[in-house]
């Protein structure tokens, strides 16, 4: 097993749930599929998905909803079966 970090792909404000009233996209222990949305980055009045790049088990977020994020900063960690 290896732990992979999903990074923000562009700068903006990070959101960990699809809307303010809903739970986060993922919780620890959830299955994650490659291409699945794990967070949103808001910039220029648009919300862009942050997608998992591999299948695995969700371990947890590395950032807080509503915080400013830079490209390359960690969003979450996923345990990937080798």
């Amino acid at each position: 097993m290896t732990i992979k970090t999903v990074e923000a792909m562009l700068p903006g404000v990070i959101y960990l749930s699809p809307s303010p009233d809903t739970p986060p996209f993922k919780a620890a222990g959830d299955r994650v599929a490659a291409g699945e949305t794990v967070a949103l980055v808001e910039v220029m009045k648009s919300f862009l998905p942050v997608e998992a790049d591999s299948d695995g088990t969700f371990l947890g977020y590395s950032t807080e909803t509503g915080s400013n994020i830079e490209p390359g900063e960690a969003v979450c960690r996923i345990e990937v079966a080798q």
Binding site: M9, L10, P11, G12, V13, E42, V43, M44, K45, S46, L48, N68, E70, P71, G72
Partner: protein, 327 residues
């Protein structure tokens, strides 16, 4: 195929063709001037590509495009650091890059700043609409943001193209390294609608750039404004909110006060409306608004018209042909 063109492999985030001076003369019909948000970086990119400085080029926002050159050309990348790569190898910014037909230029996300510029020898030769190639994306005037597989025609290569030039670091726009930007602004036209203490407060407070900012407006978070008597006790023609005024023209760079939210009106902004404009950002400071990211802090420095003119002249000088030197 012998045509000079570029193919868009990945479009990036609202990447557009921009040109100077922009779409001039249609404000009364509601068309904004558009044009590059960071004129400083834009013009230096053109000079490095061997073009006249106002030639049509690409503005890349927050996430850059991937482009394939279908002809030999000279390219230059300036503005935000989007870590450009040519055929997978890191490529220098602020310098002429000779590219061969078939080569791929890939820009990543903006690691410093927000907007990068890509100029190509001959310029982007998209159709002129109402006098300009500048794209007003929101209304699809002059085209729209780049799309995957789009082919961008290029103009004929300029004479003397092929020289390798660079802009020395001292002549490049000085990007903030601490996420704060000093923005030169003038009081007016409607500063007399605010309580005088709030005018002073505007020039001393920290204003945070919201993620809801784009080429229309830079939306700010900060302290609350108090209004002057004329805003609080006025004819109903002016509207109900203290920040309402009977519809009037908006200057480019106006700090437009909608309720308690200041929105700096920039290149793609509306030309009229019913909110007051207590302050106006100097045109020479626009490039800093273009490069500020969400969460960055703006601090406004009060200047007068004379100083605004001097700053404008200094920007003209540093974006003139001699600034790009042979290497």
């Amino acid at each position: 195929m012998n045509a000079r063109c570029i193919t868009v492999l990945k479009p990036g985030l609202e990447t557009t063709v921009q040109e100077l001076p922009g779409r001039i003369g249609y404000l009364e019909q509601g068309f904004p001037v558009s044009g590059p948000f960071d004129k400083w970086s834009f013009r230096q990119a053109n000079l490095l590509a061997g073009n006249p400085r106002d030639t049509a080029a690409l503005e890349c926002q927050f996430l850059g495009p991937t482009l394939r050159f279908d002809c030999d050309a000279t390219v230059a990348v300036t503005g935000a650091d989007m870590r450009p790569k040519l055929d997978g190898e890191p490529a220098a910014m602020w310098r002429s890059l000779p590219v061969r037909a078939g080569q791929v230029l890939e820009l990543a996300a903006a690691y410093s700043g927000a907007r990068g510029y890509v100029a190509v020898s001959g310029g982007i030769d998209t159709p002129v609409v109402l006098g300009s190639r500048a794209v007003f994306h929101m209304a699809r005037v002059g085209g729209q943001a780049l799309a995957r597989d789009q082919v961008l025609p290029l103009g004929p290569p300029p004479s003397g193209a092929g020289d390798i030039l660079a802009v020395p670091e001292a002549s490049r726009p000085p990007f903030s390294t601490d996420k704060t930007w000093q923005i030169e602004a003038l009081a007016g036209p409607n500063d007399d609608w605010l309580d005088p203490a709030s005018v002073e407060m505007f020039f001393s407070a920290d204003w945070s750039v919201q993620a809801k900012s784009n080429r229309t407006g830079i939306r700010l978070s900060g302290p609350q404004f108090a209004f002057a008597g004329r805003a609080l006790d006025k004819s109903s023609d002016h509207g109900q909110d203290p920040s309402n005024i009977i519809d009037h023209g908006y200057p480019l760079g106006a700090v437009n006060l909608a309720g308690q939210t200041p929105i700096i009106l920039v290149n793609d902004a509306p030309s009229t409306g019913g909110f007051i404009n207590p302050f106006t950002v100097a045109s020479a400071a626009f490039w800093k608004l273009a490069q500020a990211k969400p969460g960055d802090v703006l601090r406004f420095r009060r200047i007068d018209r004379e100083e605004a003119g001097r700053l404008r002249a200094a920007l003209e000088t540093v974006t003139s042909a001699g600034v790009a030197v042979r290497v």
